[in-house]
């Protein structure tokens, strides 16, 4: 089952991609003793505050001759500062593609706090499949070289020098790469040199606070960057990946996007055009469909549901998709394979379709650099008659047709048969993702409650609900609902449950739950306070983290959305209602919240709505979002004050 990928995987991926960049074939003398760099030089303590380790020095040499090879040598001295630092930084991990790349560890040793020099121990240099790619072993060219250092503890200095040599066949993609100049630990000194044969095209861009390189030109051109005292990245929960805002270099040896996109186009369209019986298949799948959108969505859902997803980023899997006929035989495929199969079906059905490359982790793409490695996933666009265009992501299970959640608002590369463009992925309006919860509660004279809950979700909420529920058995879902119910009504028991067919992607999911038992307020004296119960499903609200008073980094939401919660609470005649919540409104640029309440006899009605109209929230807007969110959580809006009615004991 595919879900939005955790950032953690990409933190590792991008961390180790720092190492294997092309290098200049230059001899480095390896000293018998490891120099203790800047160990006694004054370093600003603020720089090292909270750091688990510090990179004392990192030198990276990238050599790109004109023969499609690339050699990278990187040499690092790092000091471990804390106990957790030894766990996090005691191993060197280098990802490589064994089809094209080899890794040599030129040196690796440890200097202990008391000055001893320790070599690697026996068995410390290993090569494995990265554990997060074990399920994708069938796409298996990626390996991880792991070198484990001895004697690692606070005060240890680790030193290593690694060389990655790569030779790419003539028909392989143009060389490209990136380098991050800031990471989770401080870097005291960093030098990066990229040396190219003059005949090699080279485009680069720098993001964040990174100055221009020094450039020397001749038969060989060298670009060099140096930095000192780079502070560590301080992440904020709920923010977009740290790369956004981190000083970063993107580069490419493609002449331009024409050549990079053209290279991709050849491969993908070749697969799309494979002569298999797409026509018959599309007819079979769309049997009974009347409109174009029904046909297009039927084909989309067929590919999503019938081809098991193998989760591997496209930079690791490679850019040669599997032919549709093979994917159909196998009934499994990664993002490339599913995209190509869907495009082939659309083509056979006469729909216009284009390839899309995007970054599922919402990386900010550098459009001036023709590097396809910035993208980690593929999808497609289908154009129906009357110019209705839909962005589709068949590589993620359970996404409704036309709901392209990943990288909304970010750049993507769109490739047609004769054109390409960097475009912004549309941000859908909040009304495309709606969550509607209705709860009817009857409070008995004995203080116990009964009632019903109805929930329906569209867009993002449909996706999330299916992601949670679709592969669970009824019993498993029942138990999950029970947990949520008891959280708002202690002691309640679920009665009847009815749900839509989780496998019918044409229908928005809905859930109906009947319940009884449980109490919503304790017995008190003259006065009682009743908290209005709010049943929450894991997928009925957009997660918006507003616990921090301030943010320095932008916050990224999963989607725009509109959430409505309606609660009707029928109170017994034995209670007199003294006070209920008031109507409230709060709005800001990209968020809104509203409560409307009314009493009808002893029946209280509470309607609440949240509207989130953007996915990227800058720090200034965040303060307002936080204010709205905090206000909405206040108990004033959620409690009723009651006392026994006259004549009641």
């Amino acid at each position: 089952m595919r879900t939005m990928r955790s950032r953690g995987v990409y933190a590792v991926l991008f961390a180790v991609l720092i190492a294997p960049w092309p290098l200049r074939a230059q001899e480095h003398v390896i000293s018998e003793t490891v120099p203790v760099l800047r160990a006694t030089d004054p370093v600003d303590p603020a720089l090292l505050e909270d750091a688990d380790a510090v990179i004392l020095s990192r030198d990276t040499d990238v050599d790109i001759p004109d023969d499609r090879s690339r050699v990278t040598v990187q040499e690092v001295w790092m000091k471990i500062l804390t106990g957790n630092g030894k766990n996090l930084y005691g191993d060197l991990k280098v990802l490589f593609d064994q089809r094209f790349e080899t890794v040599e560890v030129l040196s690796a040793e440890t200097q202990t706090p008391d000055g001893r020099l320790l070599p690697l121990m026996d068995g410390a240099d290993n090569e494995i499949i990265p554990p997060w790619l074990m399920d994708a072993a069938v796409y298996g060219a990626i390996r991880q070289r792991i070198v484990s250092f001895s004697g690692v503890e606070p005060g240890t200095i680790i030193h290593y020098k690694v060389k990655m040599s790569a030779t790419y066949p003539a028909d392989e993609r143009p060389l490209s790469g990136h380098h991050m100049f800031q990471e989770a630990i401080p870097v005291l000194r960093e030098d990066l040199r990229i040396q190219l044969a003059a005949s090699v095209p080279f485009t680069y861009a720098v993001a964040g606070k990174l100055g221009a390189p020094s450039v020397s030109k001749g038969r060989v051109i060298e670009y060099a960057w140096s930095r000192e005292d780079t502070a560590m990245v301080r992440s904020e929960w709920g923010s977009a990946p740290e790369q956004n805002g981190v000083p970063r270099l993107e580069y490419s040896c493609a002449r331009d996007w024409d050549s990079a996109a053209g290279w991709l186009r050849n491969r993908f369209m070749r697969a799309v055009d494979e002569p298999f019986d797409a026509q018959a298949m599309s007819v079979e799948i769309t049997r009974g469909c009347v409109t174009d959108i029904e046909r297009a969505s039927a084909m989309y859902y067929w590919v999503c549901d019938n081809i098991r997803t193998i989760d591997i980023p496209v930079q690791l899997a490679g850019y040669e998709p599997t032919r549709p006929s093979v994917t159909l035989d196998r009934r499994f495929g990664d993002t490339r394979d599913k995209t190509v199969l869907l495009m082939a079906l659309y083509r056979a059905a006469g729909f216009g379709t284009e390839l899309v490359l995007f970054n599922r982790e919402s990386l900010i793409i550098e459009p001036s650099v023709p590097s396809i490695e910035q993208f980690d996933s593929t999808g497609c666009i289908v154009e129906l008659p009357a110019k209705r265009v839909y962005w589709l992501d068949p590589g993620v299970d359970n996404l409704p047709f036309g709901f392209f959640a990943a990288s909304a608002g970010r750049k993507a590369l769109r490739i047609g048969r004769s054109r390409h463009a960097i475009e912004t992925v549309p941000v859908l309006p909040p009304e495309a993702s709606q969550s509607k919860l209705e709860m009817n509660v009857i409070l008995g004279e004995d203080g116990h409650v009964s009632g019903e809950i109805d929930w329906k979700g569209e867009g993002y909420f449909s996706f999330r609900a299916r992601e949670e529920n679709r592969d669970l058995s009824p019993e498993e879902r029942y138990r999950a609902y029970e947990r949520q119910l008891v959280a708002c009504i202690p002691g309640a028991i679920i009665g009847e449950v009815s749900e839509s067919d989780w496998n019918d992607m044409t229908e928005s999911p809905h859930i109906h739950i009947a319940f009884s038992g449980g109490r919503i307020y304790p017995e008190m004296g003259e006065l009682s306070v009743i908290e209005i119960p709010e049943f929450r499903l894991p997928f009925s609200r957009i997660p918006v983290l507003t616990s921090m008073p301030e943010r320095m980094l932008p916050m990224r939401l999963d989607s725009t959305a509109r959430e409505t919660i309606a609660v009707t609470l029928a109170l017994p005649e034995t209670l007199e209602i003294l006070q209920t919540p008031k109507n409230t409104d709060a709005r800001f640029k990209h968020a809104g919240w509203q409560i409307r309440t009314r009493m009808n006899g002893n029946v209280y009605r509470h309607d609440e709505m949240f509207r989130w109209a953007a996915v990227d929230i800058d720090p200034a807007e965040y303060r307002e979002i936080r204010r709205i969110r905090s206000e909405s959580e206040r108990l004033e809006h959620r409690v009723i004050l009651v006392k026994p009615a006259r004549g009641t004991k």
Partner: protein
């Protein structure tokens, strides 16, 4: 991690291939075997052991089984049905074995396709080899698609890399079944032969008869030398549904256990480890004492210290008078200085500890290596210490001496003591030197005398106790400022210490701000003081003090002002949340695992704004049943303050199914009282 449970797991690993027409003809070659090597000779030896195959099940017979399964109308909770799981193994007195296993699975849903679409059989280069004899898919229309050998992958099994174990010797054969859709059947047979043994001179074996998917038939036949008597037990079989037969012969005796249609285990969140409730066979050729003695011969040679280790012991214990302090000093050294890291080394990799001299020189090792080093160091200062096997993940069975352990710790008996203490050196963060969650788990001390199976006692709640002391003031505008001081011992200490260790220091304020939202939306952390400075400094108890403020803390409702005492929100009580989560179900079939016993005592003084009086206080609460105790009082003081006291005690780390109803109602009563408010009014009303 000591990888000792592989033998017990092999028969439980999903893997079967079906051979055409009942023949084993034309098997593929073995991978990673060099002709003429000692491994090749060992493999040949194992292969000649006569695995007790009966007639292999044909595709037609498998389809018939599937029809039988479907005729029983599996419910909507069934994602797949395992039609048969057959383990056929012959072994000799040295522990070499020859296994052939068949399995067939009918997948019924998308989830079933996801679960069974890729299957793998693990093997370990130093110990065994596996080959897939055949694998295929029977489509719903009856078409059979065989998986060619070239599509069966052989890859390193790198799951342990997540815990810093990088050993490419653990491998898997991986089959991706193509064309899988609901209604299809996958079928496979594999052969597994020993090339050396983790337990020289003994055999430990296991087999499961039920699981989370229905199994029509699961059977295990062991062919043992006729003179051998097996120690065996079937656990979790109260109705004795597993049938047993024994067929003695002159050279070999066949022992067969068969389970049919045993109850499915529907997993419940928070339940004990599934292996604790599965109906399982345990078979061994030795007793626990024999196991202990045999391992001692193999392990003790690696526990011999050198002068460098002796010098370090002397340095660490210099000036310390009593054995307890010395033991603590050595424990702290091994936990903090020896990094948790696993690489392949030496004989019996994954089982033997590395020589303590290597672990010490490299400051690196996994549990077995660190436990070995600490054992050696403790013996240098005259403490009675034993290298000890353990499984912290579940309670293993003592009915038969089968190696169900995956971890190594140290047992010690201090001078003057009758009982053993246990030390776990794999975590940097246990001030008590053993996680409280290890209570109840099984251990085997390795010694030349031979020790019996034993269990670690469950620590009582007052050994896993936290204290929260708080003060807060509400001003005339209804804003609150407060201070919360927290301290804990045992599991309470360990729980927070771990959180503060693994959450980067720069993010601690984000974490505490998030927790404080339970006090009041918009609450803001003003400052934290945390001790110790470094969480892995186990000489200093964990304490922290939060300073915070909550704007608009009072809830205005007409002429009344409501609030809940901040520390009554239980946002610093991990176990309370775990208990609430456990009680969220209306029914449990299986025991629930709460981790450990627990105790939290809370007191807070809330100063009220001038000009306000108490209109109403929550009534006192006293709940005591099903090993839970909860009491709470709000009392009005003479000094314009409210005094809040709460105690929560969880006396058992387990909730048995039969006591769950009482447990649930106790938690429900506690949770309802959470909804109570202090109600104030302005003076003069």
């Amino acid at each position: 991690m000591v990888n000792r449970a592989i033998i017990a797991l092999i028969p439980l690993i999903l893997l079967a291939a079906l051979l055409p027409a009942g023949s084993l003809a034309d098997p593929p070659p073995w991978d990673h075997i060099e002709p003429g090597s000692p491994e090749a000779a060992a493999l040949e030896r194992s292969q000649t052991l006569p695995a007790p195959l009966d007639t292999l099940v044909t595709p037609d017979e498998i389809r018939a089984l599937a029809q039988t399964a479907l005729a029983a109308r599996p419910g909507p909770d069934t994602h797949a049905i395992r039609l048969l799981v057959r383990d056929r193994t012959a072994f000799d007195t040295d522990g070499y074995y020859h296994l052939i296993q068949q399995e067939a699975v009918l997948v019924l849903t998308r989830k079933g396709c996801d679960t069974y679409g890729t299957v793998s059989a693990s093997y370990d280069l130093p110990y065994d080899r596996t080959r897939i004899l055949e694998a295929y898919v029977i489509a719903p229309d009856g078409t059979i698609t065989s998986i060619p050998q070239e599509d069966i992958l052989d890859e390193s099994n790198s799951e342990d890399a997540y815990v810093n174990i990088f050993e490419p010797i653990w491998r898997s054969k991986i089959i991706n079944f193509p064309g899988l859709e609901p209604g299809a059947i996958i079928s496979y047979t594999y052969e597994n032969c020993a090339i050396s043994t983790r337990s020289p001179g003994a055999l430990h074996w296991g087999h499961g008869f039920n699981g989370t998917d229905p199994i029509l038939e699961a059977s295990c036949r062991l062919r043992a030398p006729a003179q051998l008597n097996l120690h065996w037990a079937v656990v979790n079989d109260p109705d004795e549904r597993v049938e047993f037969s024994r067929e003695p012969g002159e050279t070999w005796t066949d022992w067969t256990w068969t389970g049919r249609n045993l109850p499915v285990i529907l997993e419940e969140p928070g339940m004990v480890h599934i292996e604790e409730v599965r109906t399982s066979l345990l078979v061994s050729t030795e007793t626990w004492e024999e196991f202990s003695r045999r391992e001692s011969v193999l392990i003790e040679p690696f526990l011999v210290p050198d002068d460098a280790i002796r010098a370090k012991v002397a340095e660490l214990t210099d000036g310390l008078a009593d054995p307890e302090s010395k033991m603590a000093a050595l424990f702290r050294y091994v936990t903090r200085s020896v990094r948790y890291l696993g690489v392949t080394y030496g004989d019996r990799p994954g089982v033997n500890p590395d020589p303590v001299t290597r672990t010490f020189a490299n400051n690196a090792g996994v549990c077995k290596d660190k436990a070995g080093l600490l054992t050696a160091m403790l013996r240098i200062i005259g403490i009675d210490a034993y290298y000890t096997l353990n499984n912290p993940e579940r309670r293993v069975f003592g009915e038969a001496a089968v190696d169900q352990f995956n971890h190594a710790i140290v047992s010690v008996k201090l001078p003057g003591s009758d009982s053993f203490r246990y030390l776990d050196v794999t975590t940097d963060l246990e001030k008590d030197m053993l996680p409280a969650t290890s209570g109840g788990t099984g251990v085997l001390r390795i010694s030349k005398e031979g020790h019996p199976f034993d269990r670690i006692p469950v620590s009582p709640p007052d050994r896993n106790a936290g204290t929260i002391t708080a003060e807060s003031t509400i001003d005339a505008q209804g804003n609150l400022t407060g201070t919360i001081r927290f301290e804990g011992i045992g599991q309470v200490d360990s729980s927070f210490r771990s959180a503060l260790y693994y959450i980067p220091e720069a993010e601690h304020d984000q974490w505490f701000n998030m927790l404080l939202q339970a006090v009041s939306p918009g609450a803001v952390l003003d400052g934290i003081d945390i001790a110790p400075e470094s969480m892995d400094d186990l000489t200093i108890p964990l304490t922290f003090t939060l300073r915070y403020h909550a704007p608009d803390f009072l809830v205005r409702l007409g002429g009344s002002y409501l609030f809940k005492v901040p520390s009554s929100r239980n946002f610093l009580d991990d176990q309370f949340e775990r208990v609430v989560e456990c009680a969220s179900r209306s029914l449990r079939h299986w025991p629930a695992d709460l981790g450990s016993t627990w105790q939290m005592t809370v007191s807070e003084t809330v100063r009220l704004p001038r000009g306000m009086t108490v209109q109403s206080l929550p009534k006192p609460v006293n709940v005591s049943r099903a090993n839970l105790e909860f009491s709470r009082t709000h009392a009005e003081g003479p000094d314009q303050a409210i005094r809040f006291e709460q105690t929560f005690v969880c006396r058992s780390p387990r909730v048995q199914a039969e006591e769950f109803e009482a447990f649930r109602s106790a938690v429900s009563d506690m949770r309802v009282e959470d909804k109570a408010f202090v109600i104030l009014q302005k003076k003069g009303r």
